[in-house]
């Protein structure tokens, strides 16, 4: 039951509030209990068609040919969609905020990168007819090597999962293959510690399993617009994504939603909206695209798996003097939101504890698994599990009570965090005290007297130490994978000037240079793979939809193509053409690095 501890931090709180702390009826509750709340599927349309997708049975395969002729002739089938029918068949969710490269097709083009990847979409009069026609699609696959382990994926020579990121890692700031955090001199502190403990932690993917499966209904509206009833958690995100993929102005899409039958992060990927809208456009009729339960559980994107290595330097008196973290986030085959998860993870480290020397490398690795996405604290939940288990192990090693051990190492107001911000509104000590009290866990009198408001920022606790930097993990520079220190930032340095030098130097590990990967273009009709069997003549699509002008890649969606670095310039090259990196919008922690 909810309990407000108004005795804690009483002077920091304004109790003259109208809503907080009071029981207020939710405005959507009457609809929920009367069955009147309308979810996306609770809408009836005359002549509604049903869309189902054919999914890849392979984790990694080349598509030799696709034959949809039998499916297109099957009873009730109105239209079969393939990759070439999708106007902009390459997207990444965060491209809407200019973060990352487009890497994921709506329908696979010539390769599939995970088991369950959509290849062909079938639109039919009834769901049963669409399912029957799905069995008639003939796709000839040539299975290719796959990689399922994050660390295996990052080794030289590993199968390339996603051609947009050919070294199997997300590229941060066009500079590093991971998110970095550096504070103090971890190596020296580890060498001087009484004990060093290193452990590996892992978490599996987790399916959100909402009671309402992912889905949407798109229907033609007046004036060439389309109404879309959607389960999306981010309705305008889904609108922007659908508008981009079907290449229409966003004001031609009218999204209705907000009633999500359980989301938990699993309904931010716009898994169904773009194809439903495209289906409504090409048929001129309402189109419903809903995942069935099996698809939801197997191919609805899960919380990403993570592997985390923590190495801590511990003194006999229980102080943690160094924490070094190496973490791998399993993005699956495509980026979706994993690039953001690693930023959140880095911003969360080293946990709610003051540690004078911290370094972390958080990698986003591509594997031939189902792409992962947001889920309740993604990027943080797994690392918190790892950190807190590690804290218990450290407490045991220091022969201390785990509660007392946390009180000793907790952040207090005024402490300097490794992100070079002062900790404020800290409350771990009070949380531990209340938890111990509730659990009848004995803690010392001294522990009971501790406060987050006292002792923080004393001496070195408020200082930014001299910090050792390295060039580890520079993109295109495999020789920097395990590079040593390159320079030391003087104590007190809170900011470093952004480098004007492009750091990508092309292929040195035998793979295609990241910068040479072409942007997606529709394959020319003359090129052989994938060869489609001749299509039977479709009934002419109804007229209301006016074809939009052909999609033009929007300038600024991508960083400009790589230019060979000039000879070390004395005046910095003009950064004007550099695209402002979207990472700044996520995290003020990283906001000034570029």
């Amino acid at each position: 039951m909810l309990e407000l501890r108004k005795d804690l931090f009483a002077d920091e709180r304004d109790d003259n509030l109208n809503v907080v702390g009071k029981g207020i009826q939710r405005q959507d509750m009457p609809g929920h209990v009367t069955g009147l709340t309308r979810y996306f599927d609770d809408h009836a349309f005359d002549g509604m068609l049903h869309l189902k997708v054919v999914r890849s049975p392979h984790a990694s395969a080349r598509i030799r040919s696709i034959d949809v002729s039998a499916a297109a002739r099957a009873p009730g089938v109105k239209r079969v969609l393939r990759a070439a029918d999708v106007p902009v068949n390459k997207n990444t969710l965060l491209s809407l905020i200019n973060f990352g490269k487009d890497d994921e097709p709506s329908l696979a083009v010539d390769k599939v990168h995970y088991k369950g990847e959509p290849v062909v979409a079938i639109i039919a009069e009834t769901e049963a007819q669409a399912l029957a026609a799905r069995k008639l699609v003939r796709i000839d696959y040539e299975p290719m090597p796959a990689v399922f382990d994050v660390e295996e994926a990052l080794k030289p020579g590993a199968p390339v999962v996603n051609e947009t990121y050919p070294a199997n890692y997300f590229e941060y700031h066009e500079r590093f293959d991971h998110q970095k955090l550096r504070f103090g001199d971890v190596e020296r502190a580890l060498a001087g510690a009484d004990m060093v403990l290193e452990h590996r932690y892992q978490m599996s993917p987790i399916e959100h399993a909402p009671t309402e499966t992912n889905g949407s209904i798109a229907a033609p509206e007046q004036n060439g617009r389309f109404v879309v009833h959607s389960c999306a958690q981010g309705l305008f995100f889904a609108l922007g994504t659908a508008a981009k993929i079907v290449a229409v102005e966003s004001n031609r899409l009218h999204f209705i939603g907000g009633t999500v039958g359980g989301g938990f992060g699993g309904k931010v990927d716009s898994l169904t909206e773009p194809l439903a809208v495209l289906g409504a456009m090409v048929t001129g009729r309402p189109v419903r695209f809903v995942l069935d339960r099996e698809e939801e559980m197997l191919y609805g994107s899960p919380r990403g798996a993570e592997r985390i290595y923590i190495k801590d330097g511990l003194m006999r008196d229980g102080r943690i003097v160094a924490r070094q973290i190496r973490s791998y986030f399993d993005a699956g085959a495509y980026t979706r939101l994993s690039s953001y998860a690693a930023i959140k993870c880095t911003a969360h480290l080293p946990g709610p504890y003051w540690i004078p020397n911290v370094s972390s490398d958080v990698h986003v690795a591509y594997t031939n698994r189902c792409p992962s996405t947001a889920m309740r604290g993604f990027g943080i939940t797994a690392v918190d599990f790892a950190l807190e288990v590690q804290m218990d192990r450290l407490a045991e090693a220091a022969a201390m009570d785990p509660m007392e051990f946390r009180l000793l190492n907790a952040y207090r107001d005024g402490d300097m965090k490794p992100h070079r911000r002062k900790a404020s509104n800290t409350a771990l000590i009070e949380c531990v005290q209340v938890a111990a009290e509730k659990a009848n866990w004995p803690i010392s009198e001294q522990g009971k007297r501790q406060s987050s408001l006292a002792g923080g920022g004393a001496g070195e606790r408020s200082q930014i130490p001299a910090t050792v930097l390295d060039a580890r993990g520079q993109i295109g520079r495999p020789d920097t994978r395990n590079a040593g220190p390159t320079q030391t930032l003087p104590a007190g340095t809170s900011r470093i000037a952004p480098s004007k030098q492009p750091v990508m130097e092309g292929a040195r590990d035998g793979r295609a240079a990241p910068t040479q990967v072409p942007r997606y273009e529709a394959p020319p009709a003359t090129v052989a793979p994938p060869t489609y069997a001749a299509q039977p003549a479709y009934p002419p699509p109804p007229p209301p939809y006016q074809a939009p002008p052909p999609y033009q890649p929007v300038a600024g969606q991508q960083p400009p193509p790589y230019q060979p670095p000039p000879a070390p310039p004395s005046p910095a090259p003009a950064p004007a053409t550099q695209t402002q990196h979207g990472a700044v919008r996520f995290s003020s922690v990283f906001g000034r690095r570029r």
């Binding site: 009147l36 009671t211 339960r293």
Partner: protein
């Protein structure tokens, strides 16, 4: 495929529909009769969001054929309120915050109603047993159980 006429009482009103032989009651209710309170969650009888009452007994409408409902009494969450007056279960669900996303709520209410119609004073264990076929993925079982127990004490529960 020839359609088959089927008639039953839905929430106290005579309704009729033409259905295909293998059509489920859930589909007929949602697509032919416009009652969207029962939901589709799994189509396999695992989640309980499609629960309806047939002659007072809870049934999974995604596994029930429409043609098997000929002449029977079908009740859904849409028919629980008496005009603007909420059923005590509905009122207590509101009072105890027993819904988050709301998707499982119509099925929960229906299972709870079947229990209270037979057993006006259930124990906590009997309530838990009664809703054991209804999954709430927002994991709000505690307030749901509390709301059902609170409704059991309500006057006017056994309305005709």
């Amino acid at each position: 495929m020839a359609k088959i006429p089927v008639q039953f009482r839905l929430n106290g009103t005579d309704r009729a529909a033409f259905v295909n032989a293998p059509e489920t009651l859930l589909n007929t209710l949602r697509r032919s009769l416009g009652d969207f309170a029962p939901k589709y969650g799994c189509g396999q009888g695992a989640c309980g969001v499609c629960t309806v009452l047939i002659d007072g007994e809870p049934h999974l409408s995604c596994l029930t054929l429409s043609i098997a409902c000929e002449g029977r009494q079908v009740e859904t969450a849409s028919g629980m309120a008496d005009g603007p007056d909420l059923h005590p279960l509905q009122a207590q669900f509101m009072e105890h915050f027993a819904a988050q996303c709301g998707f499982c709520t119509p099925g929960m209410l229906t299972s709870a109603r079947a229990l209270l119609d037979k057993n006006p004073n259930p124990t906590r264990d009997e309530v838990i047993e009664a809703i054991s076929g209804n999954i709430c993925r927002c994991t709000g079982y505690e307030p749901i159980v509390t709301a059902i127990l609170a409704a059991a004490g309500s006057p006017g529960l056994r309305r005709a």
